[in-house]
Structures are given as C-alpha cells and as structure tokens.
C-alpha cells in the first residue's frame, strides 16, 4: 500500500502566466513570470523558457528583482516564504520564512534590507501592507518575522499598490478612495471620489494605480475607463487631478515608462495605449493584441514593455510599440466545449483556445504550438454579446481530417449551426478548410466521431443531434473535371423512434456504429447502415458510450445519467455486467484495453481504471481532485514506461491527463518534480555562455556526440563484463522497492552468484519442490486476498472497490521467496 504514494496527481503546466505582472531583468534579456508554484524565466529574444525556478510549495504571488543586486530575484508565495534566486543559474539562494500567507511582493531600492508584502492576518478579506525586514544571515533558511505595518484595509491585488518617487510614499486604492502614505511624515492622506448612485459617478471605482518614477504624480485607473493623474497630493485641500479618457471599459493596468515621459494603459479593448507627456491629445496605440490586457510592465532598461493577457499570453513589445515576442501558455479563460483531444500527428493537446480558435498545446514543452482559426470571424469583445461558440471537434483518419462544429443560439428558436471539415495539408503543415456545411442538423449536435478503422478506405464521419437523427457523412469526389477535389456529403440519416441522439461511437475495426438515443443504445452495421440490435437498460440517458479495444472489442460500455455503468457483450447481445458509478468522464486508452472513468461525488472525484472484460477495476485512486473533473484524455507515450507493478501498468503506454472545472490540467506522475526538468533547460544550465539560438542547439548536439564517442572509447578499453541488465536476479534486485526486499544477508550470496559465469548446475529435482510450495502458498494467499476484498467492499459502496495492488505485492513476495529457496540450493550445490 505504501507504493501508492509513488503515483501522484500533479499539475502539468498550463498554469497562469498572467497571474501577476511579469518582471524584466535589468538587461532586458530575460523576463520572469509566475506560473503556479514556479517562476519561469524566459528569454525575451527567443521566447524560450530558460529556467523554471521551483521550490515554493504553493502559488507564487509576487516576484521582484533584488534592488541591491539585479542578478537576483525575490519571489513570494502563499506558502509564507520569500525566496531569493539567482536566476541566471536557476539556483535558490535563500529562503526567508515569514509565516503568513503573502499575497504580493514589492521592493523599494531605498528601503534597504526590507521588502513589502500584502498579508492578511486576522479576517480573511482584510489585507494589510507590511514591510518585512530581511535579516542578514549566511544560512540558507532564515526566519523573517519582523513585520511592520504600513497600511490597512487595502485591496488584495498588487495592482492597487504603487510605490512612488524613490519610495517616499506609497499609494493604495480601494473602491472609491486613494490613500497615500508618506514614509517620512508617517501620515496618510485620503482622497475620495464621489460614489453616488447616479449615472455619472456610478463607475468611479479605482481599479489600479501607478506612480511616476521621478515626479510626484500618481496615475489611477477607473472602472469607467478614465485615468486620473493626481498631483499636489501632499496637500489635502490643494490636490488636483487631470483626466485622460480613452478606454470605454475598465482600465486594467497602468505603467509609467522608466523616464516617466509616457504612461501606458490597457484594458478590455485589447489595445495598449501610450499617453505621451501625459496629455490627452498625444497618444499612440498598439491595437489588436488579441485579449484583455491584464498587466503591463516596463523593463528597467526602458527598451521593452510587456503586456500579460487574459488568454495566458505575454507579449513583449518594443519601445516603438511593435510586438516583438509572444509567450503563449495554455489558453484557459473560456469554457471548454470540445473536450481534450490529441492531435495524432503532433501529439499535441487540442482544445478550445482563443475565441473561435482551436489551440494545439504541447504537453512536453508547456507551450502553445499554434492556433487554428475555426470560426474565422472578427471577435467583438462586448459584454452580453452572444458569440459563435466552437462546440465540437474531432480528429479522424490519423490526423488527416478535422471536423468542427460551431453554433450560436440567440433565442430558443434561432439556432445557427455550422460544421466544417478540415484537411491536413502536408505542404503547408496545417489544416485547410475543405467542406463547410450549414445547418447539418436541425438542432444542436451532441456528438461527432470519425471511423478510425485502419482498413477503411473511405473516411466516414457520424454526427448525432438533438433533432433525433444521426447522419453519416462520407468523403466523395466533388464535381470537378479533374476529379481531384474532394468533399463531404451526407450518406445516411438514421433515427430511432424520434428520440434525441445523444452519443455515437465506432467500434475499433469500424464495422459497427453505436448510437445512443436517450436511454437506448442502437447498434448499426457500418456497411449497410442496418440496425443490428438495441440495448436498453432503463437507467437514464446515456451520457458516455464507448467500445472496448483490442481483446475487449466485443464489449460496449455505456454510462448513464443515473449513475450506472453498463457493459454489454456484443456477441451475446446481453448485459455483461453493470456497476453503480456516477461517471463524469470515460476515456478509452487507444493503446490498451483499459478504460478510465472518473466519478463525481460530493467530496471530490475518483478515478477508476478497468478492462471491459472484467468488472473489477485495475486501479482506483480516490480524491484525485476536489472539484469536478470535466474532461480527460489518454496521451500515448513516445517511449513506453516499464512499470512492473500491475497497478501502474495502465500508465505504461499512455499517460492520462484531465481537466478540472477551474481549468487546471492535471496528470498522474511517479517522478519527483526535480526529474521533470526539460532537457533543454538542463543543457542551458550547463552551457550558460552560449546564447539560446537555433545554432546553439546544433552546436550543443555536436558536442554531445563528441562526448559520447569519448565514452565509447573508454568502454572499449574496459574488460568486457556481462551486461548487468541481462541477469534476472540483478534486475529483480534493482527493480524491487527497497522496503520490500529481504535483508541484505539473504541477497548477498545470490547477487554474488549472479555475477559468476553460469555452469548449468541447477538440479532438475529441486524445481518441482518449489512449485509445490508455491501452490500451497498461493492458496493461502488467495484466502487472504478474499478477506481483503470483503473488507474493501464493506467500506466502499461503489461496488467496484477492489484493490488489486495488493495482489501485485504478493506476487513479488512469491518471487522473493523463490530467491530464498534458490539461495539455499546454491549453497548446497557448492
């Protein structure tokens, strides 16, 4: 049971890059951004991730350059620590333990050896700005408990705090007022805007604040799109402000350029506005940035700006307002309709991305590969506007075809529906629109699937719709004299008693099509389109439907809304088994018979992995996530893993990824996070002097090859030893976890013997004895096992809660016992 801890649910990339303002290094070579529990270091030139600084145990909430040493970086986290990093080498230098949750971090050059942080100590929604004294100490772990209070009742967001003019004052905004605290005088001035309910002032709320670097000027952004420039604020009466108004919606962030000559602002318009000399008439725009600007930051050298966008993107912009680089993470700000898919060609994760786009996201490099514009219409960003949504997508024929469905429903009766079929073009390495079908159905399309059989000569697509029909679309010659153009046409329309078609699924060989009509599953012959048989369990509408694979291809699985998982045998046309399981996600592994089902309970989500042939699950993991899991997918591994234990064997060929409601992408991993470093970053660790250009990679490879050659020559010189991997005893010894191994005394002789050259001294008579003993043991074991199963069933109401992991450890024990016996026999023989 201890081994279970080896398998963990881990976040795998895709975390928000736009959670906080990005920070530039002093020379503008690198840009830092928080990303979940890590800090990522990107190169501003190549957009490549150079380092991932990990060490925090919770969300990183703030990063700032060390003002005293610009080669170091401070980061704060909800885990209550401030860490100091050497970002060039990616090394953690120091950890300061503060002890309470830190929500933001600020540094001021003038305040030596102390930083500022937002904490909440007493009540959950009252935040304070405190100054944290960082003690000087040579040890790596330092306690920093000396907090001094600066401002109370501030906004949680770091955008609402700004330090101005060499740290003389700090400005904080919240709701309708601006507070300015002067450090020298230790006084706070507060300026309140009218907040009456009438139309004119209703949206006067402050949203963000920035301070001029050299002058006493505070810029504040407001809900109604105004920017106010406050001056003379050390006088409660004579204070004055100027209004700049261009944004029509909330100002999301403000930043002054390094010299203070221009002010940058951004908002939902996705336009970066540069106000030069802080005058209303003198402004420049950088439009069409794609998504709401969440943060703006300016490099200390003054040559670069950067904007963080709501679609998890960072754009690096030159001083002359030209976008120079884009760092794009997984787009997550919208709801996912298409589910998770894997592009068979690139092995990229495919899901809804930007509005109207399908994003291809590389799981290995945590980077978006590209966006495919599906809807191909200008996106109008306006609140309350009903947009065209990309609702379904499917890959077919090994990635040659992509089918997408988009819909827009303004009223109950006005449905706009469009299906598009895209062909992969090898020349352009992209998808090209082949067929566009307007209103393929009268009502929403509920499911879409390609026939992915290897031998099928004609690509076939099936769509199921709420209008009660399923349609079969096939690729045919288009009327073209060269007979080269191809297009999709409807081949067959099927229905069953006017029930709504809810799901459809092809069998692995493509011979059968299963379509579920509410509670009923119908099986159709895919050649003649004849109705073969129906299954009806009267257990609620079918939510998921899938065929078994490989050896289990005779089974059909269906999960219903009432929480019943059914498995039908297609040969006997009878229910094989059923189980009570509230299945939210059911995904078959394309490389094995395994099927993963995620059930939802009030506590959280549980994972069950099973084969259709037997109702007992191979593997159960409870509480994989607190929240609802919305989608899951198996991703085939490039290099198969070799988990020997049966419980993890389902992860050998594929990896399972799933997406929760809050859109965090999670997976199962057995590795420690340190091992997950990407190879490129390791290379860069070693070779810092080389710039990260494409040439570098070629050069780097060359060097590696040289190294390898060296190793080879060394090996040749050595005495040829038997390869240790080939000796079973050694491999068993190495692969068995240490805590289940017998004591070293037992193993020692076996190990020594294994290194000797074999002499075929094994006597024939001894083996049967062993077998006998094994059989006896086995019967005992099975008894134990049965007992255990009963226990589990008592505690577990789902009915499938059988733990097979135990069995595995048993089998290992058996093997070990075998070793013991062999051990003795060897001694005797000697």
């Amino acid at each position: 049971m201890v081994e279970k801890e080896n398998i963990r649910v881990v976040r795998c990339g895709g975390s928000e890059l736009n959670f906080r303002r990005a920070v530039f290094s002093a020379d503008s070579k690198y840009i830092f951004c928080v990303s979940g529990d890590f800090v990522k270091v990107y190169s501003t030139v190549t957009e490549e991730c150079v380092h991932i600084l990990h060490g925090h145990r919770n969300l990183v909430t703030g990063i700032q350059l060390n003002p005293n040493n610009h080669l170091q970086l401070y980061s704060s986290s909800l885990d209550g620590t401030i860490k100091l990093w050497d970002y060039i080498d990616g090394i953690l230098i120091k950890t300061f333990t503060v002890g309470c949750k830190l929500h933001a971090l600020f540094t001021v050059a003038q305040a030596e050896d102390s930083v500022f942080a937002i904490v909440n100590k007493e009540k959950p929604d009252i935040f304070q700005l405190v100054s944290v004294k960082l003690p000087k100490s040579s040890s790596q772990e330092v306690e920093a408990k000396e907090l001094s209070f600066v401002l109370d009742y501030i906004n949680q967001s770091p955008k609402c705090i700004a330090f101005g003019n060499e740290g003389v004052y700090v400005a904080a905004v919240r709701e309708f007022y601006l507070s300015v605290y002067f450090f020298k005088k230790k006084t706070t001035s507060r300026f309140t805007l009218s907040s009456s309910r009438n139309k004119k002032h209703a949206k006067n709320n402050f949203t963000c604040v920035a301070c001029h670097p050299t002058e006493d000027c505070i810029a504040s952004g407001h809900m109604d799109g105004k920017i106010r420039l406050w001056r003379n604020f050390y006088d409660d009466k004579k204070y004055t402000y100027t209004c700049l108004h261009w944004h029509h919606d909330m100002v999301m962030d403000l930043a002054f350029s390094v010299t203070g000559t221009s002010l940058l602002s951004g908002g939902r318009e996705s336009v970066l506005v540069e106000w030069r000399d802080a005058t209303e008439k003198n402004k420049e725009f950088l439009p069409r940035l794609g998504a709401t600007i969440e943060h703006i930051s300016v490099s200390p050298a003054g040559d670069l700006f950067c904007t963080s966008h709501s679609d998890n993107k960072i754009i690096i912009i030159h001083r002359n307002l030209e976008a120079s680089a884009v760092i794009q993470g997984l787009v997550k700000d919208r709801s996912i309709f298409t589910g998770l898919m894997i592009d068979p060609r690139t092995k990229a994760l495919v899901l809804n991305g930007k509005p109207g786009h399908l994003q291809f996201y590389s799981l290995q490099s945590d980077k978006q590969l590209y966006n495919l514009d599906i809807i191909q219409q200008e996106y109008i960003n306006d609140y309350g506007l009903i947009q065209i949504e990309l609702t379904k997508a499917a890959f077919g024929c090994f990635g040659n075809w992509l089918a997408t469905v988009e819909q827009r429903q303004e009223k109950e009766t006005e449905l706009e529906l469009q299906m598009k079929l895209w062909m992969y073009n090898k020349k352009t390495q992209g998808f090209i629109l082949n067929t566009k079908i307007n209103m393929p159905h009268e009502d929403c399309i509920t499911a879409l699937c390609f026939c992915n059989a290897e031998k099928s000569e004609q690509p076939t697509l099936v769509t199921a719709s709420k209008d009660g029909y399923f349609k079969v679309w096939i690729l045919t010659d288009d009327s073209d004299i060269y007979k080269k153009a191809v297009g999709w046409t409807c081949d067959f329309v099927g229905s069953y008693h006017k029930y709504q078609a809810t799901n459809c699924c092809f069998s692995e060989d493509g011979s059968l099509l299963a379509v579920s009509f509410e509670e009923i599953v119908t099986i159709w012959d895919s050649i003649t389109w004849e109705l073969k048989c129906t299954f009806c369990q009267r257990a609620g509408k079918i939510r998921h439907l899938c065929f078994g694979r490989l050896t289990c291809s005779k089974y059909l699985l269906g999960a219903t809304e009432n929480g019943i998982l059914c498995c039908w045998n297609l040969l006997s046309c009878a229910l094989e088994w059923n189980a009570k399981l509230n299945v939210r996600v059911m995904e078959p592994d394309p490389n094995s018979e395994n099927i993963a089902a995620i059930s939802q309970s009030s506590v959280g989500s549980d994972l069950f992995v099973f084969k259709p042939s037997e109702p007992r699950p191979l593997y159960i993991q409870k509480g994989i996530s607190r929240e609802e899991v919305q989608w899951g997918v198996f991703v085939p591994r490039d290099v198969p893993e070799s988990f020997t234990s049966e419980a993890y064997q389902w992860l050998n060929r594929s990896q399972f990824y799933f997406l929760t409601k809050s859109q965090s992408l999670l997976t199962f991993s057995t590795k420690s996070p340190e091992e997950k470093l990407t190879p490129t970053s390791k290379q860069l660790l070693a070779e810092e002097s080389l710039p990260t250009t494409p040439f570098y990679f070629i050069l780097g490879k060359h060097r590696q090859l040289q190294d390898e050659k060296l190793n080879e020559t060394l090996e040749n010189e050595l005495v040829q030893l038997p390869l240790t991997e080939n000796i079973p005893a050694v491999s068993e010894l190495l692969h068995t976890p240490a805590h289940v191994l017998p004591s070293a005394a037992f193993l020692c002789s076996m190990f020594v013997n294994s290194l000797l050259l074999s002499k075929e001294t094994k006597s024939a008579k001894e083996i049967p004895e062993d077998v006998d003993m094994e059989e006896e043991k086995e019967s005992e074991d099975s008894d134990e096992e049965n007992d255990f199963i009963e226990k589990v069933q008592d505690t577990n109401n789902t009915g499938l809660g059988e733990d097979i992991i135990h069995q595995l450890s048993k089998s290992e024990e058996k093997e070990l016992r075998k070793f013991r016996k062999i051990d003795y026999s060897w001694i005797a023989a000697l």
């Binding site: 003389v168 050299t214 001056r231 029509h248 005058t279």
Partner: protein
C-alpha cells in the same frame, strides 16, 4: 391664495448677443462684460452677481478688448479703431479716441505693480501691426509713442508684471518688446502644424506674460505653449484641442491659468511642484470644464472662480472649490444668460405686451380663451396672439429702454442720442402710429421710462441724474417738472417705480440709494436704505430670518409687483421661479418645506392652514423673463427656453462622440 389664469408667452424671440470680452476688476470685485453688439455690462460679484450697470451697444462698435484701469476706469477698444472710456456714474461714454491704426484687436493696461512708471499706460494692438502706447491722464488718454511696427495685426497683448516688457501675439509669431526702447527683442515663431496637418496660418489668440519671464500663448492650432522670453525659445507645448484655443487668463498669484477653446471647453492649468521636497514647479493641465456649447471667446480668472463667456451668450462663473473656504452660494456654478433689466412692458388695459430688442420693438396682443379648466390644465386658445406692430429704430444705436403706457395708447423708447414718444390709435383692428415730434432738448437720453397708472404722466430718468415729469394729454405733452439731482452728484437713476395713485415716485440710482418724490407737491423725500422706516412685516422678517433654502437661491429677483386688490400679497420672480409672498401667513421656519407647489387638497382645512406659510413658489416657468398681473385673476409670464436660443445661434464645432 387664489388661482390665476396664466398667459404663458413664448413668442418673445429674444436672442442675447454673444459675449466677446470679460474683464475682472479685483479692487471692486466687479466684472465688465462686452458683447458682440457693443453692449457693455458691469456685474457686481459681491452683490450676488447682479448686473448693475449697462451701456447700450452700437452697430459700428464691435468691442474687441476691454480693460479696467486705475481701479474704477473702464476702457474698451474695438474694430472701429477707437478707444472709449465709460463713465460708470452717469452711465454714458465719456469720450472716444481714434488711434489711427485701423481696427483695434487688443488692449492692455500696464500692471499695477510696476515701479518704473509714473502713471498708468494703455497699450493697443492694431490691424496695421502697430502697437501704440497711451498715457492715462486723470480725465483722458494721450498718445505717447509707437512700438516697432509688425507685419500683421496684433491680436493679443500682455505686459510683464514689472512693466518692462510686453508680449504681442500676431499671426504665426509672438513678439517680445522692450517697453523703454519700443523695439522687438524676440520673435518667436509658432508652429503651424495642427495634428500633423499644416494649416495655412496659426493665429496667436492670446498671450500671457508671467513674472518669471515665461510667455504663455494660445493659438488656432489648439496648442498652449510656454516660451522663455529671455531666449525666445519654446519650453513646453500642450496640445489640448482640435480647434482654436481662443482665450487665456492668468490668476494674480500666477499659480493657475485658464484657457477657453472653440469647442466650448475651458481648461484649467495649475502650477504644481514636481516633487514634494523640491522647489521645481511645472504647469499641469488639470480639469476641463464643458459648460459652453460654442466658442469660448473670453475667460477671466478671479481669485476664487473661473469666468468664461462666448458665442453661446452664457456667462459662466465656475468657482474653484479649493479656493472657496465655506460652502455657501459662492461655491455654486452660475450661468447668466439674460440681462437683469426689464425688456418687456405690458399694457394691462388692452392686454398688450411690448418687447424690446436691440434695434426694434414688437407689440403683441395676447391671445384669449373662453374655455375653463381645473388647476394645472392647459386651456385651448380661441384667439391667437397678434403681432400688432414692428417698430424699427433709426440709426445704429441700440435701444436703452422702452415702455408702453397702461392704457396702451403711448409707447416711449430711448436710444443714447434720442428719445421717441409715439401715440397709438386703435380703430377696430387697425392701429395707427403717430410720432410725437418736437421733444424738448432735455429729453435726449433716458435710462428708464415709466408711465403712471392712469397713463397721464410720463416719468423719465435721464442720464444726467435728473427726473422729468411730463404731462400727456391727447396728442400733446407738457413738461411739468424736473427733479434735479443733488448738487455735485451725477448719479444716474436706473430704476423707477410709481405708486398706484400717482402721488409717489421712487427712484433708485447706481449707488443703491432710494429717492422718493411726492409728485403732487413736487418735493423730495429721500431715504437711504439704512434709515428707512421698515414695515412691521419686514421687521419680523429681519428678526426671524428667511428660510435657508430661500437664502440659498443664487439668482437676483428681477421684478416685484403688488396685488392691486390684496395688499398683503407680494409677487416677485427671478429667472428660475416665481413667488407670491402672503404677508398674513406665518413665515416658514427651517423645518417646513419651502417648495410646496400645491397644498394637498385632500386634507382638511386645519392641516392645510397649519402647513401653509407665506411663500408660495412656482418653478414651472423657466427661464422666466417677465411676469406681471394683468388683472386680479390673470397673470402673464414670458419665457424664453434656452434651446430656442441655441437653435438660433450658428452651429457649434462638430465633435465626434468619442473624440477619435
């Protein structure tokens, strides 16, 4: 209280002329305003912004510049090439001096703080590019010398506060002159570029010379620019408008200034320290004010307020909140559109209204109705209002005042140079008009004309301070008497009132003294306000004080009349409300509701009596120009909706909604 039938008159097609210049006088807290028709008005800012003096306009005298000198002397210059001084006591023009330089575009008086100059000097900029210096002598001005002549017209002038240098704005450049030598020491070329497009010319509409040597200019390209006059270089430029910036005014402390643009926006600039611990200061544009729809031709900066006026005829006084100590009615925004004098007179007997325009008079007969209705109903007209007469004046001068007799058979009006009296004869629907010729020579210019209730006597207040009584009979007249002013004063009488029995005549002059004359015995009784015998009612009012909301009103009451049958009732109105004060009812205290348009009718008499108080206020009619009783049950109210005035003005500069 009584209900009234109200004639709601909206056919008075009066359009005030646009404001051209304002000049603020810091010593007396008065504001001089000149309009495009040459009218000059003087407002007393201490007395609730009352328009206390008024000089009629003249067709050929378009005022382009207006300034105060030596405290109380008011000068104006205009496109007819003359400098005029106004006599603020006698309310006439003292003299006009031709400067012989073509139309005058600008004028500036030497600053008061100058030590170098023995007496005040007046500087004018002319069409031909000359800048002329005049010496102000106690009773006249005298030409002193010319400065270096420039190529094009001088549109704006400003003295350095020490009086040693002046800045002159011209077309495409600004010149800095040394006053002693009269030569231009710098010529600063203004950029013609306007939003990237080169305009033909860049007109420097205004300049201001600050004591630190900075020259601020505003120009037709929409820029506010700061120049260093010592080196003649541009220091900073603010582009604030897409259209012309037409006016500039600097506060006396030189810590803030105000500019007005052709888009109707007024921008406030303030001198703000760059950082709290440094002495370096910079000019920052702070707040924009959009109170005008049309060009803001002129602005002024009083210590506590920004004053602006323009083509849309409003005079806007926007107080600066940070300068106002307490929140009284000085802190309220004011918009003054209509003159605070009577433009309408009414003949009660014949139900006629006489409207006074700048150059003509209109006589209308009110419509009538036979229908009756409930309180608040609009009654249909059975007979429409008739335009009976259109009387044009001869000559370029504006009408000062006019009056129709209560019987409707006499009309009198006066311009600056002539007095006219007409006799009207009604024959069925026809009207014949006959001018009474051979007016006596002393009746040349009247400031106020009034007929007695029985239309037999005409009272004329002349600008020499004399009051003349003229007996009217049939088609002829006879001069009865002239009340001469007290020896030594030439105070003009600008308000007249006569008692209903015709025995008593009251007159008030510009210094707010009230003279009461007994017409029968031709004797003078004089009361000045402090020792006048107040009535018991006014004593109780003084004792108890007015309702706080009543005191918060900020528009002057323009007309008071008494109900002929009910002596306890006083009717009064200002531009926004009309009020009847019933002296028999208790005064309201601060707890009662001041504005209760109609007492609730469903409640018992006791309740109604308890809630009733002396002030009955109606705000239905606005802006209200005139209101009077025709008879005891009929009122006439003349309104002039602001939208109608705006509709008759030239269209404003078109601005896109989002300003892109």
């Amino acid at each position: 209280m009584g209900e009234f039938k109200v004639h709601r008159v909206r056919f008075f097609n009066y359009v005030p002329s646009g404001i051209r210049c304002v000049a603020y006088n810091n010593q007396s807290n008065r504001l001089a305003v000149s309009r495009t028709d040459g009218t000059v008005e003087v407002y007393n800012l201490s007395a609730n912004y009352f328009q206390e003096k008024f000089f009629p306009g003249h067709e050929s005298r378009a005022t382009e510049a207006l300034c105060w000198a030596e405290g109380q002397r008011l000068f104006s210059a205009g496109l007819n090439g003359e400098i005029m001084e106004y006599d603020l006591q006698a309310l006439n023009i003292k003299y006009a001096v031709d400067v012989f330089g073509g139309p005058i575009w600008s004028m500036a008086v030497s600053p008061s703080g100058s030590q170098l100059l023995v007496s005040k000097q007046l500087l004018v900029g002319c069409e031909d590019g000359s800048v002329k210096l005049f010496q102000i002598t106690p009773d006249k001005i005298q030409f002193e010398r010319n400065f270096d002549r420039q190529k094009s017209r001088i549109l704006s002038l400003s003295w350095h506060p020490s009086g040693t240098h002046i800045a002159a704005g011209s077309i495409d450049y600004i010149s800095v002159f040394d006053v002693k030598s009269g030569s231009a020491i710098h010529k600063m070329i203004v950029d013609r570029q306007h939003m990237g497009v080169s305009k033909r010319k860049c007109i420097v509409w205004g300049v201001a010379f600050l004591s630190d040597g900075t020259v601020i200019s505003v120009d037709s390209a929409g820029k506010v620019q700061f120049w260093d006059s010592a080196t003649g270089t541009l220091v900073k430029s603010h582009l604030i408008a897409n259209a012309d910036v037409q006016s500039i005014a600097v506060a006396e402390q030189e810590d803030s200034f105000v500019v007005g643009t052709a888009e109707g926006t007024v921008f406030h600039f303030q001198l703000v320290p760059v950082t709290s611990n440094s002495s370096e200061k910079q000019w920052v544009r702070t707040k924009p004010f959009q109170h005008h729809t049309h060009d803001v031709r002129t602005v002024a900066h009083s210590p506590t307020a920004l004053i602006s006026g323009g083509t849309d005829t409003h005079l806007v006084i926007r107080p600066l909140m940070e300068k106002v100590e307490v929140k009284n009615y000085d802190a309220a925004l004011r918009k003054i559109t209509f003159p605070h004098r009577r433009l309408i007179s009414c003949s009660k007997k014949r139900q006629l209204l006489l409207f006074q325009f700048a150059h003509h008079l209109e006589l209308w007969r009110l419509g009538s109705t036979v229908a009756t209705g409930k309180n608040g109903d609009t009654l249909p007209l059975s007979k429409n209002a008739d335009h009976l007469l259109h009387l044009k004046t001869k000559g370029p001068e504006n009408i000062i005042c006019s009056c129709i007799s209560p019987c409707g058979s006499w009309i009198a009006y006066s311009t600056v140079s002539r007095f006219f009296l007409y006799r009207l004869n009604y024959e069925h629907d026809n009207i014949s008009l006959k001018r009474v010729s051979k007016m006596p020579p002393f009746l040349r210019c009247a400031l106020q004309i009034l007929f007695s209730e029985d239309s037999t006597k005409l009272f004329v207040a002349s600008n020499q301070g004399a009051l003349h009584i003229v007996q009217l009979s049939g088609g002829s007249f006879k001069h009865l008497h002239a009340f001469q002013p007290q020896s030594g004063t030439v105070e003009a009488m600008c308000l007249l009132a006569v008692s209903s029995d015709g025995n008593w005549l009251a007159a008030s002059g510009t210094s707010a003294g009230v003279h009461v004359y007994n017409v029968k015995q031709l004797k003078v009784f004089e009361y000045s306000i402090p020792d006048k015998q107040y009535t018991d009612w006014s004593r109780t009012v003084q004792k108890q004080g007015f309702h706080h909301l009543w005191l918060q009103r900020d528009t002057p009451i323009t007309h008071i009349s008494f109900h002929p049958k009910r002596p306890m009732h006083i009717l009064l109105h200002d531009a926004y409300m009309f009020c009847i004060i019933d002296k028999s009812l208790p005064l309201p205290n601060d707890k009662t509701l001041l504005y209760n348009p109609f007492p609730p009718t469903n409640e018992s008499d006791v309740v109604r009596r308890r809630t009733a108080h002396a002030f009955k206020i109606s705000k239905i009619y606005k802006p209200l120009l005139f209101m009077d009783l025709l008879d005891e049950r009929t009122l006439v109210a003349v309104e002039r909706p602001l939208d109608d005035i705006i509709a008759q003005l030239p269209p404003p500069i078109k601005k896109k909604k989002f300003g892109t």
